[in-house]
């Protein structure tokens, strides 16, 4: 319980700290792009975390993220771009509509017993395609002309455009992560884990499987839609093919698998890693290499780190912290890069490399420092153990 209190306080601290970043812009004189870089990460953190609530926790593998995100984007765009609503009122509605979409989907698919595993996954994929086709056909939604969101007014209180988007994405990302965390350490969460492991047995032990799956799906959909609604102003010009494509669903999967789907922090870590790498590689002007390296990382990390990077970081938190901040400080002090983000990327890559070092190498290191840490065998158990146990 104190553990939870500490974590929640942690969220508040991190949240406020990040929330103050825009105010420090003048003082620290960092490039405005840092804000954009951060809110891109927030976007993906929210998407990946919300996806993981359904798929990571309950084991129902969903491609529906694109659909929920798309519903959010279009709800906001139609209300603001076509009917002139104020953006800030449209935003929550985007979340609600997306959530409703999720629940309707759930009512259908969760009633069909056989609809599990890949069949469920592809149903959700198909739903995204259907929604796209509907948007194509109906001029009141899009009808192919696209919707302009450029120049949408954001509330003064949130600051000018970039700052406002930053604060809103941060807020939604926090909500998503906190939700994921609270569910993770609750009856609901454990009920979902039980469903993931063996749904029949779970219900036999008294887990209300249908209701729990609906809650998970609803949370996933509404959070994804909420962030989608916000993202519509970042897109500027909303078109069906930019919104309803395979990008969002695929990236949330990759991020969550990379970071680890068993723990609420996994998707967060995955989102940070992939977003940062993509940004830095691209900024190096290596368009193709970018793609190839990302692809390579996926293959190798998926194979090398069974439980996801985060589980290892947790086991080796000391080493993780030392490597990360060590490299970060060094790169900053030596001024290797012009950009703080690059320093961050270096530190992150270094950490990942250390995380990837095979057990044998670890044992030697430990022996060298004469320290005892859990051995290789515990990794799986470690992957299972959660707060509370």
């Amino acid at each position: 319980m104190t553990g939870r209190a500490r974590t929640l306080i942690g969220f508040v601290v991190v949240g406020t700290a990040l929330g103050l970043v825009p105010n420090l812009e003048e003082i620290l004189t960092f490039p405005r792009f840092y804000l954009i870089f951060l809110f891109t990460i927030f976007f993906w953190v929210a998407q990946a975390s919300s996806w993981n609530i359904l798929t990571g926790y309950s084991g129902y593998f969903s491609f529906g993220q694109g659909a929920f995100y798309g519903v959010g984007v279009y709800t906001a765009s139609v209300l603001v771009g076509k009917h002139g609503w104020s953006f800030i009122t449209a935003l929550p509605i985007a979340g609600v509509v997306a959530g409703a979409t999720g629940l309707v989907l759930g009512l259908v698919v969760f009633r069909v017993r056989r609809l599990t595993g890949e069949i469920f996954a592809l149903t959700t994929l198909a739903v995204a395609f259907v929604l796209a086709s509907v948007a194509r056909l109906s001029p009141s939604i899009d009808g192919g002309t696209g919707i302009f969101m450029t120049g949408t007014a954001v509330p003064e209180v949130l600051g000018e455009f970039t700052t406002a988007v930053y604060r809103l994405t941060l807020l939604i990302a926090l909500v998503a992560v906190v939700t994921a965390y609270l569910i993770h350490d609750s009856r609901l969460g454990w009920g979902l884990f039980a469903i993931r492991d063996d749904e029949a047995v779970a219900s036999g032990l008294g887990v209300p499987t249908f209701r729990y799956k609906m809650i998970a799906l609803g949370a996933n959909a509404s959070l994804a839609g909420l962030m989608g609604g916000l993202w519509s102003i970042q897109l500027g010009f909303v078109t069906i093919d930019d919104v309803f494509n395979i990008r969002v669903p695929l990236f949330v999967i990759l991020m969550s698998v990379l970071g680890g789907m068993r723990h609420w922090m996994g998707p967060v870590v995955g989102a940070v890693i992939i977003t940062t790498l993509a940004d830095r590689l691209n900024s190096a002007g290596l368009a193709d290499v970018n793609q190839i390296v990302i692809g390579g990382m996926l293959v190798v990390l998926a194979l090398a780190v069974r439980e996801g990077v985060y589980v290892r970081m947790r086991r080796r938190w000391g080493t993780t912290a030392i490597t990360f901040f060590g490299v970060l400080v060094v790169t900053i002090v030596l001024g290797i890069n012009e950009s703080l983000i690059s320093d961050f990327a270096y530190a992150m890559v270094a950490t990942v490399v250390v995380m990837l070092l095979p057990e044998r190498a670890w044992d030697q290191i430990r022996r060298f420092f004469g320290r005892r840490e859990p051995g290789a065998g515990d990794e799986r158990a470690e992957g299972l153990t959660r707060t509370g146990s």
Binding site: P31, R32, F33, Y34, I36, F37, R136, G143, G144, T145, G146, F148, T150, F161, T162, W231, Q234, L235, G236, F237, T239, D241, D242, L277, D279, R280, L281, N282, S283, A284, G285, L286, A287, D288, V289, N290, V293, G296, M297, V300, L303, A304, V305, R306, I336, N337, E338, S339, S342, Y346, V349, A350, V352, V353, L356, L357, P358, E359, R360, A376
Partner: protein
């Protein structure tokens, strides 16, 4: 466990490779001076030596921009990349801009608007480039323009199709379609057809559900004024077919069947990229050839290789034949661009609308800076609005603030004849002894 370890080692190796790759960004754009991405290392080094041997001196002027180096727009973006490289290279050889060498900091927007927006934020605020130039693709240009506007940067761009939506006072489109291409473009075509003596009685439309082509065909979404369909009806031509198809169409057979069934005297394909070759192929396979065809924004290459494409028309700004090639510099530039395209492995290397528009956008930037005598965005913006630009491929361009900085529609009608593109209308721009071939 052993397997596991083996993979771990591999992981370490790839990650190190990754670091190596990421190291490139140490000096930010400097390494990506000219030709990053698809064209690979050779160009880069070559380019760098150029910047060294140039007369231009001092701190280089850095021009930032993205292009769809990967993703769905990559095919056409390659043309804009090659053109930009040639422009910068020639500029540096001829003493640079304001006596300073020029660097092009080019990023990949992966054909994705939100990535484009982020990239421009980055270019302006982190890389602190002196100037920006637009990306490729309507969606990306729109997203990027919003950023440029936020920071008050002069924003020259090519190939943005939704003219009505751009009201940033410092945007300058080099795609001289005028403010109302949905009216002027179709009418230019219809005049061209009528110039052949025998106007069609019936016309059919197949429209790609892409915002730009929707705009051309049906007019501006909110006002619905103009549009190829309405303009055709104004001329008393009967519209016997009006089909809209999704951007991701995989089976063209049924669409072709519908065209054959309606059998219009003239077929207006409001499509882009590969739509025309695909539709023509499908029509060929069911043994149908309309009397006349037009396609809005085709990829020029594939159509020439396509059976049954002969006689198809399109809009253009520049083609490599007289009178456009009367200006020797134009010929020289075109040659350079073709060479650059060939070097980057692009099969169709002829210079036409895309390259011309791209080149012109760069010219705006150069002339604005030189005209204003500084890199002050506001001064540059005002100078362009006051003086317009003197361009290689478009001649003199003016920017009418009351027309959202658009000029007249300078489009010409080109047609595939004897397996190549020729401008056929208006006659003063037509290739020697070429004219519209059309008989219903």
């Amino acid at each position: 466990m052993r397997q596991h370890r083996r993979w771990s080692y591999m992981a370490v190796i790839t990650t190190l490779a990754l670091i190596a790759a990421a190291c490139g960004d140490g000096e930010g754009g400097a390494t990506s001076t000219l030709a990053p991405g698809t064209t690979g290392a050779p160009q880069t080094t070559e380019a760098e030596t150029d910047t060294e041997t140039t007369a231009a001196t001092g701190e280089p002027i850095r021009i930032g921009g993205t292009l769809a180096l990967t993703g769905v727009f990559a095919a056409t973006a390659a043309i804009h990349q090659a053109t930009g490289e040639v422009f910068v290279e020639r500029l540096n050889e001829s003493g640079g801009l304001l006596g300073r060498p020029v660097e092009w900091v080019l990023l990949d927007d992966e054909s994705t608007p939100d990535l484009a927006a982020a990239a421009y934020e980055r270019l302006i605020t982190e890389d602190e480039v002196d100037l920006v130039i637009g990306p490729y693709g309507t969606g990306n240009i729109t997203a990027a323009m919003a950023v440029a506007q936020r920071y008050g940067y002069v924003f020259p761009h090519h190939t943005a199709s939704l003219t009505y939506a751009y009201n940033y006072e410092c945007h300058f489109s080099s795609w001289s379609t005028g403010l109302h291409p949905n009216i002027t473009n179709p009418n230019l075509l219809y005049d061209a057809i009528e110039s052949s003596g025998t106007p069609p009685e019936t016309i059919g439309f197949v429209v790609n559900e892409f915002p730009g082509t929707m705009f051309i065909s049906y007019g501006q979404p909110d006002t619905d004024e103009g549009g190829a369909v309405a303009e055709a009806e104004k001329r008393g031509w009967e519209v016997v077919l009006d089909v809209t198809f999704p951007i991701a169409t995989s089976d063209w057979g049924p669409i072709a069947a519908q065209i054959k069934d309606a059998d219009p005297d003239f077929l207006f394909i409001a499509g882009l990229g590969l739509d025309a070759p695909n539709i023509i192929n499908a029509m060929q396979t069911i043994d149908y050839q309309p009397a006349g065809m037009f396609v809005q924004w085709p990829a020029p290459g594939p159509l020439l290789g396509t059976e049954g494409a002969d006689g198809i028309m399109s809009v253009t700004i520049f083609e490599e034949h007289p009178p456009f090639t009367d200006d020797p510099e134009a010929v020289e530039v075109a040659a350079d661009i073709s060479q650059a395209l060939a070097d980057s492995g692009v099969p169709y290397t002829k210079v036409e609308t895309q390259a011309a528009a791209s080149w012109t956008a760069w010219e705006y930037l150069q002339q604005a800076a030189e005209g204003a005598g500084s890199l002050d965005q506001e001064a540059m913006c005002n100078w362009l609005i006051e003086n317009g630009a003197d361009t290689l491929f478009h001649g003199n361009i003016e920017f009418f603030p009351d027309q959202q900085n658009y000029y007249e529609d300078l489009s010409k009608i080109k047609q595939v004849q004897d397996g190549d593109w020729w401008v056929v209308y208006p006659s003063e721009f037509a290739a020697p002894d070429r004219s519209v071939i059309y008989s219903p």
